[in-house]
Symmetry: C2
Subunit: 358 residues, 2 copies
């Protein structure tokens, strides 16, 4: 039997609750396909700060690197919000992304028929939305140097960062995005600010060049301000979107909210080789942590992405997705997606229902 | 009688049509308040490129500087899209903003009761939305240096830009935003990415410091990705938003689309002293240029902002706003906001109706 090792990073807030549930689902789905999964839990984020004084201990990164895939819950919380930069939970997240080299972040925003009413958009606008945002994750202004604080020629204090992309960085994320688009609706929209930024001009030039390798994919370009509008005006016009780290951060969150159910949305971060990082897009929700109220479906669907994109066991991923659909069809809902006529359940119970459906 | 000089920059596409209509409205509203307005039309954008080879001729900037306020239509079009950076219409716009020192860009996003159905958001979510985005306009990544193209240590070509803010730049935009919030609902939300970017950390620190000068305004902070979500989830939670140049570009466009009628939305760009720049937020819409189909109301409402923020003649601004409301109440609509049961009119006719209502 195939056997894989999975690093679990429960993190903070509701992270441990949703990861515990997703772990069981992952195990069962794997075993149904003859795949054995071994789990190792490691510290990250605020939990690591409290226990070890750093947001990403060396052992955690080493264990993650040595494993076949990583499932992350969520990180952060009020407690650490005012920490200095190198002691922020978020820095742990940025460091593990960079440390694993997972430059391609895939963020689906899909409106499920069962949850179309959860969107704040009119039904006819939201229904059928199925977007994949491919966000560059290890470059751009998040990591660009120089960065820091300085003094300008008037003697005033400044804060600064560098948005920078190289041809190699753009080419590799463009190829991932074209591959993704090819397997989806065959349409790729590249989002930039090439009317103002040199980094975006190079981005547009390279994405256009790479397009010749994918003649079957229809490429278009859009400015980021227009993309932010078009997602609200008519989200169905989009199939696959590719964009840089900071625009991807903003647009993928906007797209996810258009579905109305961010408690449902998974993400995958993958590199050239080596293990991928899989996590729900929602945060650590400290307000409801430890109350068995969290929606575990985003993490469960992240586990499905782990099986598909991380281990290549697509059949097991399909089982999970089908089980989630069945559970929703059976009317089970956590608080965030609850509506009249459905059955309100907690985090654990939702997990049990998915296991039953599996 | 008070007398002021106004520079008109019709620009490209539908710009000349909407500016012509707004000019008449401005004249009449001014004269009703005993204010004489003198107009001078100058070249900018693609029109200036075609006629003079540069997107912002020196005479245009000089005339604008010497006048009391500037009304701009729209710039840009397919024809100039592939021009080099210094020959893009957009570069003319950036240069006039910088040349006039108009660092504070005020962008209202208001859902008018008559047009609530135009929003793609559900009625209960859209109705009553009244947001003012205060965007920093002459700093940040739009103007930061170094910028350009280079080679990294692997010998690969790069494109790069610098996001940079000084204390003085942040303090002055923060003060404008607090003043605006004070005259509105008394709530200011500062949007940044302080969990990642040093430029945002300084931003948050200074906005927090300036808050002590405005004890009557309630300040909150939000990360830009979350703000992009919250605008979709519950836009009514926002009163006044203050943010940097690039985040303001994205979020103000997102907010404007939430109203569903970007053909209605004006903007004002003002500095410490000197003339302000007033323009609709919509683009040059080359597809419908010259067909008398454009909605002139955004430019007419920009003219109202010009009277209020540019010349301090608030009574005349109120007259224009009331006339626009009356015209909408009378059922007149251009194509972009037309719905069954209303009267479809063109750009000129819409202007005539506003003049009648004046
Ligand atoms: C927590 C934060 C650093 C992170 C990011 O900006 O990438 C988050 O918003 C995300 O999108 O995963
Ligand atoms: C045309 C472009 C340079 C401009 C900007 O990005 O500022 C526009 O999008 C705007 O918001 O006024």
């Amino acid at each position: 039997a195939r056997s894989y090792s999975i690093t679990l990073l429960p993190g903070d807030g509701i992270g441990p609750e949703v990861v515990a549930v997703a772990k069981d689902v992952l195990s069962v789905a794997g075993s149904k396909e003859g795949v054995e999964l071994r789990f190792q839990e490691m510290l990250m984020g605020g939990a690591a700060l409290d226990a070890a004084g750093v947001p990403l201990p060396d052992e955690t990164l080493a264990a993650a690197r040595a494993s076949d895939a990583i499932l992350l819950g969520a990180i952060g919380g009020y407690k650490w919000d005012n920490n200095e930069k190198h002691l922020k939970p978020e820095t742990g997240l940025l460091n593990i992304r960079a440390g694993l080299g997972v430059f391609a972040n895939l963020r689906p925003a899909t409106v499920l028929p069962q949850l179309v009413d959860a969107s704040t958009l009119k039904k006819e606008v939201a229904e059928g939305v199925d977007i994949m945002v491919v966000r560059e994750l290890t470059g751009g202004i998040y990591f660009g140097k120089p960065r820091g604080f300085g003094t300008n020629d008037k003697g005033e204090e400044t804060g600064f960062n560098t948005e920078i992309y190289s041809v190699a960085e753009i080419d590799r994320i463009a190829r991932v995005a074209f591959e993704v688009a090819r397997k989806r609706g065959g349409k790729l929209c590249s989002v930039d600010k090439a009317n103002v930024l040199e980094a975006s001009m190079l981005w547009r030039k390279r994405v256009t060049a790479i397009a010749s390798e994918f003649p079957d994919v229809e490429l278009s370009h859009m400015y980021v301000d227009n993309a932010a509008m078009q997602l609200v005006r008519n989200p169905k016009q989009f199939d696959t979107i590719v964009t840089n780290n900071i625009f991807g951060d903003i647009l993928s969150d906007e797209a996810s909210m258009i579905t109305g159910s961010i408690g449902m949305l998974p993400s995958a971060s993958v590199g050239e080789s080596g293990p991928g990082l899989f996590e729900p897009i929602h945060g650590s929700a400290p307000d409801i942590a430890g109350q068995d109220k969290a929606n575990p479906l985003a993490t469960i669907l992240s586990a499905a992405m782990l099986l598909k994109y991380g281990l290549g066991v697509e059949s097991a991923a399909k089982r999970i997705e089908a089980a989630v659909t069945e559970t929703l069809d059976n009317g089970f809902r956590t608080g965030d997606i609850h509506s009249p006529g459905t059955t309100l359940v907690g985090c654990k119970r939702m997990g049990e229902e998915v296991l039953k459906a599996l």
